[in-house]
């Protein structure tokens, strides 16, 4: 087989794997948005079969042979070319997959399915203990996965590398160490000032249908195509998912007494959505048709949720739109009031509803606890207590129960360790990318006050989306901004913003 045919054959196999993964994604979407309770057992079986087949297709000996022929060829091409990148990323994925036995893929899928249902049960009973046996299994299989993948220092290294290629636990810990004290300090200073009294505007009764109308107006304004290339639905936990460049879905949930829940979740998920819609069509149905990492993906959601959606400029444009949909609720509110209401900082229990400043503290708590459990220095049975201690230390509050504490996240039903760091990486990266975009388009943010967001979206498309998953996140950031992941600009941005807002 000549090299062109070998490459063609590789692409065909990768396309088939992509079809299986996308089919699994449709089944997941349906499970979260529409499936009746009775469907859960069969759905777990169907998802396990699709995941196992995708894994089997990737680790088939033919893929190894094709790659062996192709890597030498790829070394002679520009590293950022489609073909060299396709071969490089396929090789990485192939090598990781071959280390994980098919049996482990099935066991993890089954354990995850059981854990999901036990987690729902535990939440209904508000009792972490109900969740522990199923969670034990997920932890054991996560450890086993890490061991199979291989690591030098800590099981988390392997798990983090799966979703943040090139990153490990010590680098994450170093980033968090830079962030922790400044953010804890900033939070204390804000709490000591007047936080809380500005919250009223968004905390009123907002009918569900109108909330969606307003949120989707914002989603359309920032450039997410929800009509021809997307859809929106409701789910218990907001998420975004993509089945092809031209079929990207977002969900939100509605809190009738607080507009912020649905509104910022929609902007957040649509931000993820712009990433999927922005990856070039020529990479479709291939291994490069993904974000560079979970953290880079999060940088796009945070960008539109926080940098844009919680900016003064955005509300200069959007306040009249909001008032037209909610005349009585927005009444005579000023831009300053709307801006303040969108940026209330207050230590709180639920991560997904946390503000920009305290959010990262929620992440650090999870990261540290996961590390300790995987170390073997913390028993799962003691997790709720450890959770509450950390909350007291970092946020000054203690969850009254498991539901608002250790049982709040769905993530541990899928794997234990290696997921949460990406949220903070996304926060940090969103600012780095935004600053670079701004420096190349000075005054760009002024366009927002006129409802024009296309220059920012285009910059992200040209500097982030266009690469798909060609580069490791660090390399992508260096290419786009000239610097890798670093806490400085983020802390500066956050400190400046809230010092001005709260007149600290």
């Amino acid at each position: 087989m000549d090299l062109a045919s070998a490459y063609q054959r590789l692409l065909e196999i990768l396309a088939e794997i992509e079809d299986l993964k996308m089919a699994a994604a449709v089944l997941y979407w349906d499970r979260q948005t529409e499936m009746p309770p009775g469907g859960s057992v069969a759905r777990g079986e169907q998802l396990t079969t699709l995941r196992r087949l995708a894994h089997e297709k990737l680790v088939q000996p033919k893929v190894g042979e094709l790659l062996a022929d192709l890597v030498t060829e790829a070394a002679t091409m520009p590293g950022d070319s489609d073909q060299a990148s396709m071969i490089r990323v396929a090789k990485r994925e192939y090598e990781m997959a071959t280390r994980i036995p098919s049996r482990l893929v099935v066991a993890m899928s089954e354990a995850s399915d059981l854990a999901y249902h036990k987690w729902l049960e535990a939440r209904a009973a508000n009792d972490f203990a109900t969740f522990v046996p199923a969670l034990e299994r997920v932890v054991a299989l996560s450890r086993e996965t890490a061991a199979a993948l291989g690591y030098e220092d800590h099981p988390l290294d392997a798990l983090i590398d799966q979703v943040e290629p090139g990153l490990d636990a010590s680098k994450v810990a170093a980033l968090f160490a830079e962030l922790r004290e400044p953010l804890v300090g900033l939070t204390r200073r804000i709490v000591a000032s007047d936080a809380g009294r500005r919250a009223g505007l968004l905390h009123q009764e907002y009918p569900a249908g109108k909330q969606l109308e307003l949120g989707m107006a914002a989603v359309r304004a920032i450039g997410f195509d929800v009509d021809r290339r997307g859809r929106q639905a409701l789910s218990v936990h907001p998420f975004s998912i993509s089945f092809s460049p031209d079929d990207t879905r977002i969900t939100t949930r509605i809190n009738r007494d607080y507009l912020g829940t649905s509104f910022f979740a929609l902007l957040h998920e649509a931000g993820h959505g712009t990433y999927m819609q922005g990856i070039p069509d020529r990479l479709r149905r291939s291994i490069l048709h993904e974000g560079a990492s979970a953290g880079l993906h999060e940088s796009q959601s945070r960008l539109w949720e926080n940098v844009v959606g919680r900016s003064r400029y955005f509300w200069q444009h959007f306040l009249p739109v909001a008032r037209a949909v909610f005349p009585s609720q927005f009444g005579t509110a000023t831009v300053e009031e709307a801006y303040a209401a969108a940026n209330v900082v207050r230590p709180s229990l639920i991560r997904v509803e946390a503000d920009e400043v305290t959010y990262n503290l929620h992440i650090m708590i999870r990261f540290e606890l996961e590390k300790a459990v995987l170390d073997g220095t913390l028993d799962l049975a003691d997790l709720p207590e450890a959770w509450n201690r950390k909350f007291a230390a970092y946020l000054g509050i203690i969850p009254p129960d498991d539901l608002t504490g250790v049982l709040q996240d769905i993530h541990w039903t899928m794997r234990f360790g290696g997921s949460f760091q990406s949220y903070t990486i996304g926060n940090v990266a969103s600012i780095a990318l935004y600053r670079q975009a701004l420096s190349e388009n000075p005054g760009m943010h002024l366009d927002w006050s006129e409802g024009r967001f296309d220059s920012l979206l285009r910059w992200m498309q040209d500097n982030v989306h266009t690469h798909g998953s060609k580069f490791f996140p660090e390399e992508l950031l260096v290419r786009a901004t000239g610097a890798g992941l670093t806490a400085g600009p983020y802390l500066e941005h956050i400190t400046d913003k809230y010092t001005e807002l709260y007149q600290l």
Copy 2:
């Protein structure tokens, strides 16, 4: 490998195939109910991959080896036992599948996807010619499929046998020959009487939300579990689909000016749904977890739509329910008026909205045209003209355009030939089954006037649903009613009903 292990291994492989088919079904459901237009290309690819993999898994040599070991064993078991049936049905499916090359499965899936989109395009343009090239391809591949499967007399024999095991074109033609004249005659007598003047009740403005409320009340009343084991959605063409015994979905469409569209479609699809919900749990995720045939499936939808939903007894119970939901529309309507309105007979253009009497004439027209095209005695280009001639002959009306004529059905996008006969088989079988149920539970229909439908549902569960796809339709009918498929009782029932209703 001992026989118990061989059987176990066979079940595992069949379960994997079932997972792939059910995953494809979820993707189909999503395509019809929610997918944005942009998603269509990728969805076609995903469906093709799933169908190809399901086919490859079934024709793998291992299945042939296992079956070879197991068939001798099965011959010593009772033929209606789960194990003997599983082996027998698997062998039939395996042998049919091995005759169809994987290449043909892929070609058909791709042709079907293209035809679906060309059909939508042709409908938008109201121009059959736009559809012809894509349809040519489907016809050619349907012929090729028939040739691969093998047949004695006519390609339709092979295509019919796929969905109605044991049946062929001459048996269908004989059934239709018995039905044609009496139904054409009955239609003429009704038209010559007062048909039409009774239609007013259901032809008023009925708000969409309330239509669903009423329809779903009927669906719940007849025993379809839409809450824990089902779901309902909207789609352009009503359909039902099942992903497991405990996850069966139905759709409907809404016509604001005619309540009958949504109401009877919901009863119809829920009838299909009761079949899927009624197959025993021990057959789940196996090759027996299906209806006995497309026609037997249709017998259940027709039972609830027509035998029950268009009965006087049903309306004795349901009129007050309808009046509570639609006080002004139902006003002072009597049971007799509601019964008459539910049974207006009038030659019409659209099959899915045809009444009980004329419906089968729509089917015969399609069957005869498909036969002629597959014979090579009718060119696709001449199909619209031939269609219109048959409409004039059987129904006395001529479609004004392609949209209300030859372009109305989605079926030809999936395959050409072998599908439509099952609707009439369903009509005929529904009466045979109902009559038997009634003879075993005299006065059962009186329960309907009190809103109790459980004795009828239970009879169907015990005599039809419980067997899954163990038996050929003819055998199932003989077991359940003592007789095979025959036109007599059906013609008697229809003639009696409408002679009384229209005082002919």
